[in-house]
């Protein structure tokens, strides 16, 4: 295009193609910085780095191994559940029930092992499958019966909570003795949860950004009618997202039970779910559908964890923490909406 050719090389955008032979280091760095700045994850990443620098200077205990384990264990469950929520938010849906799948899942495992003598691995798999099944039900009610997912998963969430309370009599139980060794690599070992989180985040980030399925998920959220006119099965894409969300809820529920070596009927619920949605939003996922980043949500989860841990180390009361979280959500959303508006106007 003549339009691009006329521009000076300094402001040329990072278009693919050969770079001029005399390309200096500064130009490369500049271009790298531009590409970095264009990533939606950039903002939250910078905030995380700034917080790390601050807390490391302000609190000597921050960079110790024990504290890093602590941060990783706060981050991981939120980050894993956020994978499912990001996928759902990208295609314009949400899962409010995932925190209750989280609570039910370790009970399912416990019932199977202790009451039905099922071996540990199959019991874990059935608990995961239970999560997928509830994800399928959420998807069915939303996609086929056309109830908005906000309401559909509000309903199923209560149902799942009730099932857990009836079957467990609302009493905490110990981890089945036979499951302890499996529990080590699933969640009880100091670093195991964060390893799971990083691996899953990496896998699903690639799936969302580099595969047909990911492209179709974004298409469904961006323009549902357009996507279906293009021949994409909107139902199948949404179903998959709900089922993945259910799976993640069941997985994290067991991991957390193993980590605290206790199956607790008061764990999970809306708390973990809203943390995951918050992480997703802070990380740059729009609630309007069509865009979202799983890595961003991971950094969002990390940011929330570092904040609460750092406050704790500095001896500051945790009372104002919700204010910070709330402001972070609002700033992230306002930035999201306004940047999108500017981008549409062609000003950035």
């Amino acid at each position: 295009m003549s339009e691009t050719a006329e521009r000076s090389p300094g402001v040329q955008s990072a278009a693919p193609g050969g770079s001029p032979p005399g390309n200096n280091l500064l130009g490369t760095a500049k271009r790298g910085l531009t590409i970095f700045g264009q990533q939606r994850e950039a903002t939250v990443f910078i905030v995380v780095v700034a917080l790390v620098i601050y807390f490391k200077a302000a609190a000597p205990a921050f960079a110790t191994k024990d504290n890093l384990v602590n941060i990783s264990q706060i981050t991981a469950p939120v980050a894993i559940i956020a994978i499912g929520e990001v996928l759902l938010l990208v295609c314009g849906e949400i899962d409010l029930s995932v925190g209750f799948i989280f609570v039910l899942s370790p009970f399912v495992m416990h019932f199977l092992i202790d009451y039905y003598s099922v071996p540990v691995i199959p019991a874990v798999l059935v608990a995961l499958l239970m999560g997928v099944a509830f994800g399928y039900i959420n998807g069915f009610i939303t996609v086929t019966l056309r109830v908005p997912s906000f309401i559909a998963t509000l309903g199923t969430g209560f149902v799942i909570l009730g099932i857990m309370q009836v079957t467990s009599h609302d009493e905490p139980v110990n981890i089945p003795a036979k499951a302890v060794s499996v529990g080590q690599w699933l969640g009880a070992d100091a670093w195991s949860e964060i390893i799971w989180a990083v691996v899953l985040v990496a896998i699903f980030h690639v799936l969302l950004t580099r595969t047909r399925w990911g492209l179709h998920t974004v298409a469904v959220g961006g323009n549902m009618l357009g996507a279906s006119e293009a021949g994409i099965s909107v139902a199948r894409i949404k179903m998959a997202a709900f089922m993945i969300s259910g799976f993640m809820g069941a997985l994290v529920g067991m991991q957390e039970a193993f980590r605290v070596s206790d199956i607790d009927p008061t764990s999970g619920g809306y708390g973990i779910m809203f943390s995951a949605v918050t992480a997703a939003v802070i990380g740059g996922t729009a609630l309007t559908g069509g865009s979202g980043t799983i890595i961003g949500a991971f950094f969002g989860a990390l940011l929330l964890a570092i904040l609460s841990d750092g406050f704790n180390l500095l001896g500051i009361s945790a009372d104002p923490l919700p204010i910070i979280t709330g402001v972070a959500i609002l700033v992230a959303m306002i930035a999201n909406v306004q940047l999108a508006r500017l981008r549409r106007a062609g000003k950035t």
Binding site: M1, V206, G222, N223, G226, E229, A230, G231, I232, S291
Partner: protein, 266 residues
């Protein structure tokens, strides 16, 4: 040759790529299409005009497999086909460019160009190959956009339309259905789209049905015009044999008659 209407329907049957025979479609109590017959010759550009609610979009949606008719048949290259889905119609070479364009604002131009036909180097998308081919193809078609890497949200209405058309042509569509491609276009952008259609005609391997409201533009670019009124085809003429005045008169005739009747009774 007789001069009786509708005259062109009787001729050139052998070269028809598409024939619609006795199509009827109802939505509950509303009959959207009544016994519609329509034909499209090879490399022909057919204009489909009619007032709002006349059934144009319904007919288009049936032809591209998005909706199914209640009765009647669709004959493609001499063989009866049943179009059960968009995918199936597309596999048979029928592709539509909807009024809303079915473009995804959040995706880049090249991802939109290859939506549902992505190049894959398993398990990942082959972005490099899609980007290169999208660029090449848009250049071939004379569609000027700053870069295939921009989100389509940033493009103008005409550019978006051109990309939607290019996408269909590129996917080996032999019959292209354009639903109001000129709606809400400025003069310059409309000219660009009309040029694109003329180019397709010149290439000779694509037949086009255009739904439009601007009769001047329709007559300029179409070989033949069909008028749809209340779910029925009421006119079928070559563009050379009709005029903007005749088409306008036909469309407004019924309103005029109603108006006059009211005046008389008053």
């Amino acid at each position: 040759m007789t001069v009786e209407q509708p005259e062109p329907v009787a001729t050139q049957f052998a070269d028809d790529v598409l024939r619609v025979e006795h199509i009827t479609k109802r939505f509950g109590a509303v009959t959207a299409l009544t016994d519609v017959n329509l034909r499209l010759a090879r490399s022909e550009v057919l204009g489909l005009i009619g007032d709002n609610g006349a059934g144009k979009s319904t007919l288009l949606k049936i032809l591209c497999g998005f909706q199914q008719p209640d009765s009647g048949r669709i004959v493609l290259n001499g063989e009866e086909v049943s179009l059960k889905s968009v995918d199936q119609a597309r596999a048979l070479g029928i592709d539509a460019v909807y009024q809303d364009l079915a473009l995804i604002n959040e995706l880049t131009v090249y991802h939109n160009m290859f939506l549902k036909r992505e190049h894959v180097r398993w398990p990942l998308l082959n972005n490099k190959s899609m980007r290169r081919q999208a660029k090449q193809h848009l250049e071939d078609m004379g569609v000027g956009i700053p870069s295939v890497d921009v989100q389509v949200a940033k493009l103008s209405g005409g550019q978006r339309q051109a990309i939607a058309v290019a996408r269909s042509v590129y996917s080996d569509a032999k019959i292209l259905l354009l639903d109001e491609p000129l709606a809400a276009m400025g003069a310059k952008e409309a000219a660009m789209i009309l040029d694109l259609v003329r180019d397709l005609k010149r290439r000779g391997d694509v037949s086009v049905i255009i739904i439009a409201h601007n009769y001047g533009q329709v007559l300029e670019v179409c070989d033949r015009v069909n008028l749809l009124q209340h779910g029925e085809i009421t006119l079928d003429k070559y563009s050379a044999d009709t005029s903007v005045v005749e088409l306008t008169n036909l469309v407004v005739a019924e309103y005029r008659a109603a108006l006059e009747a009211r005046h008389r009774s008053a």
